[in-house]
Amino acid sequence: MRSPFAYTPRPGPLQAASPGAAAAYLGALVAVAFLYSNPLVLAAVGVAAALAGYSAGAGAAVRVALRMGLTLALLIVAVNALVVSRGDTVLLRLGEVPPLGQVDITAEALGAGAVIGLRAAVAMLVFAVYSACVDPDRVLRALRPLAGRSALTASLISRLVPVAVADAARLRDAARLRGPAAAPLGRAALLRRLMAGSLDRAVDVAATLELRGYALTRLDAARGGGPGHVRMRFKNLPQNLRARLAAPDTLRGAASSVGQMALPFGLPASYPRSVRHSPVAHAGSKSRYDGRFYCVGAAVLIAAIAGMILGADSFHAYPAIEIGLGAGTVALSALIVLAGFAPRRRDAR
């Protein structure tokens, strides 16, 4: 089954925008969420992110992210209430609770937890919209000239994560289909099998990347002589991987192998120099919507900074909850909510 957070091409402005423009727009929303603690502003960022997601056709991602984010928020509220006993308004005295000590549930701790949880939920929501609406291939293409090795790692991960998810589902099915007299499977055995399968897959993907031109020849030093009728010995990458898998310290071996896998492809030896220096290589990644997203992102960020200077972020949890709901805060919140409409198509209004 496809993840709701997986990128789906749609004919919307956010999907058409260049990765930079989309990142500027969504990044501004996240920045506000981390700059502000005022619940009204945080809620406005959440609404804006949800509107952006729905406008861009990523409703499923928004719904799932909201469910996950609110669950996380509730968890944070509960934990904060248990571990923080500050605040004037004691709602419940639980007495001595080992190992936490004296536990008093206060309204202020609940409020502070709610703000932290809201921030986490909003951040998740924005990242969900980003994941569902921004083409990872374009992001990687933009990254390659700047950080080839990181782009390669990201390429491998972006391909291998969904493959590993599918492998895990298949392995779970196979585990369920084992006969009652077959050896039962623990999670550790299943995880080890998944890891082994994923690394085999990684080897296949790495081979494909080589064939697509990611790597140029790198084994001159390893060759025993020149081309022709002579015997030559070559290093072997996949066998190294499998040898490590056979070792008991699978995780350490796997991590090391993945590291080795990335090494041969890294800059400067492997990346085509013509791409790195080509001034027109990324001209095709621009969109007519870029200006809109850069402007909206900048407007949100400038307004947020101005609002902070003017005191729009007035929120204090302790000793008693104080929430500033002045005109500046309301205006900033309204502007942020309006920013959520940026991904809408003009002809759809």
Binding site: P162, D173, G179, D204, G213
Partner: protein, 582 residues
């Protein structure tokens, strides 16, 4: 001579004296690498010499593990640059030294398409996947856009460009992989069993697409395949390998004559038909076979005009005993007191999420499978075969309808390796129950082996034993045993072993259902064929009836003779009246 012109003039592939051993093949000495040493299983390739001229369409034939994949890997630079090992000899691709150059440099002149499309896709969207090799080469965006558009048009996939790769079917993925291999306009394209995961329709389309590209673009094709009947007619030349050496190199017709003498496992059904009927020359495809038959005054669909029985005398073939009964495997029936029905589904509807929306994958299926019955479940990719098996096994939940499996059910899914987790066969199957299961699949001798050391066929048997373990009552099988696409990447010899296993299971009372794309395989093992189309049963009858009544889901013999009920070479030869089946 300028380098570019020299490259054009060079053969597409020139391999000379190539010997190669993978790194885990044990210590290799100089003398062991000598071709004069004779057969030595440590070598994937031994003294291979072959030259492909520009514009040739060559088919690489041979049994599993004969060296086909290693030769293809050597031609694209993965051997030795990626896989390591020791190598002797020379490989030149369009003038480039493949041993001195790496796969990245060779990518400009050679494209490679592997068996499993899933493992050769590295991007998220189709357009980015096709564009990647050009981007790596440093082509400017305008040039890349044009090349992507042209290759998409050539492969009839422009509608896929905007889609993400995880929404594509197997056939679509294989076309995208082919597009990524072709987008740089390589001189040579190497394909390693590209149709093994495709249904007959997609497989045929891919082969003829390759032929068209070969003719129109002048691309040299080297295609490794097990299902020779599918591609022999498209090839100009056949290269057969055995134990890492080239044992035949010639025209398709000569190849068939050679296979008849040297290795009947490489014979096509059409060649077997003609060989049994004593007709010469052996045909390279359906069209060729029909022309030869006409020359012998046999009109397809009507039987022979002279010298043989008319078509209606083939009636016995239609009601011929099942292949399993012919082979004498059905040694006993289920206990009289036990239910005779293995499984039954009524009005079965199953909904799966595909993309953002749920879709009905099975739409009101009615089906009953008897114990001891061998059933082939066929249909194009996405028709619902796997979903039906998974629903029977309880892995998918129906939204409507009834399922009744009378007793235990064992399901072997498409990847037997998913069942193999431990490093010793005996650890996978401990105790008496495990030993019984191993005995049923004929693997009790391998109890101390590492599953990874078993052959592909043995691993599949082990996975089946894991699924069967504890589901048998003494020697009696579970009521239902299901196998999902068990013949992927199998040569005919291994397929025959699988047929024996299936017939053995049925003979012990299991209803056996096999989801497969392989019509020739189905014609050998199945008594009954259920054909699914878009989630509904569109045909359900005897194998002879269903596999002779169409074009794509019909055996090669059925397509040649066009006689109802005649699907195997033996039946066909009997109908032609020249020779009785053995």
């Amino acid at each position: 001579m300028p380098a570019e012109i020299a490259t054009r003039a060079a053969p597409a592939l020139a391999v000379e004296g190539l010997s190669y051993a993978y790194p885990n093949a044990g210590p290799v000495t100089k003398s062991m690498l000598s071709p004069s040493e004779g057969p030595n299983m440590t070598f994937a390739l031994r003294d291979v010499s072959v030259t492909l001229s520009a514009g040739e369409f060559a088919l690489l034939a041979g049994r599993s593990a004969c060296g086909k994949t290693s030769l293809l890997r050597a031609a694209c630079g993965l051997v030795p640059h990626f896989h390591g090992g020791e190598i002797e000899g020379s490989v030149h691709v369009a003038g480039l030294d493949a041993i001195a150059s790496g796969p990245g440099e060779l990518a400009a002149v050679v494209g490679y398409v592997a068996q499993d499309p899933e493992t050769q896709i590295v991007s998220t969207t189709v357009a980015a996947e096709i564009e990647l090799p050009l981007e790596m080469r440093g082509d400017p965006p305008a040039s890349r856009a044009r090349a992507v558009e042209e290759v998409a048009l050539a492969l009839a996939i422009p509608h896929l460009l905007g889609r993400t790769v995880d929404t594509l079917s197997g056939g679509e993925l294989q076309r995208v992989a082919l597009a990524a291999a072709l987008v740089t306009r390589p001189k040579l394209v190497l394909l390693d069993e590209p149709t093994s995961q495709l249904d007959p329709v997609a497989g045929d389309e891919l082969i003829w697409l390759l032929r068209r590209l070969n003719e129109e673009w002048g691309v040299t094709i080297l295609l490794a395949e097990h299902r020779l009947e599918r591609c022999l007619a498209a090839a100009d030349r056949v290269i057969a390998m055995d134990s890492g050496t080239i044992v035949f190199d010639g025209s398709p017709r000569d190849f068939l004559a050679w296979a008849q003498r040297a290795d009947t496992a490489l014979e096509t059904p059409a060649a077997r038909l003609f060989s049994l009927a004593g007709i010469e020359p052996l045909p390279v495809g359906v069209r060729d076979a029909r022309a030869i038959l006409r020359a012998h005054e046999v009109e397809p669909g009507q039987g022979p005009r002279d010298g043989g029985p008319p078509a209606e005398t083939c009636e016995p073939a239609r009601s011929a005993p099942s292949p399993s009964a012919e082979r004498g495997f059905r040694t006993g029936d289920p206990r009289p007191s036990a239910p005779t029905t293995a499984a039954e589904v009524q009005n079965l509807w199953v909904e799966l999420r595909q993309g953002d929306e749920p879709h009905d994958v099975l739409k009101g299926i009615d089906l009953r499978i008897e114990r001891g019955e061998t059933v082939a479940l066929m249909g194009r990719n996405g028709a619902g075969k796997s979903t039906l098996l998974r629903t029977l096994a309880g892995l998918a939940k129906p939204v409507r309808g009834k399922i009744k499996v009378s007793g235990e059910m064992a399901l072997l899914t498409q990847n037997p390796s998913d069942y193999l987790v431990r490093e010793r066969v005996g650890d996978e199957l401990p105790g008496d129950g495990g030993l019984v299961a191993l005995r049923v699949v004929g693997l009790e001798h391998a109890i101390d082996s590492d599953p990874r050391d078993l052959s592909g066929g043995e691993r599949q048997r082990l996975a089946l034993a894991i699924a069967l373990a504890g589901r048998m009552d003494g020697d009696e099988m579970p009521y239902l045993v299901a196998l999902d696409e068990p013949t992927r990447g199998m040569d005919r010899a291994r397929r025959n072993d699988l047929v024996d296993l299936i017939e053995g299971l049925a003979a012990r009372g299991a209803g056996v259902v096999v989801a497969t794309h392989d019509v020739e395989f189905a014609s050998v093992f199945a008594e009954r064929v259920v054909l699914l189309g878009a989630g509904v049963v569109i045909a359900d009858g005897s194998a002879a009836e269903v596999l002779s009544g169409g074009w794509y889901f019909a055996t090669e013999v059925a397509r040649i003779l066009d006689l109802p009920g005649t699907i195997t070479p033996e039946q066909g030869a009997a109908c032609l009246g020249w020779e009785q089946p053995r």
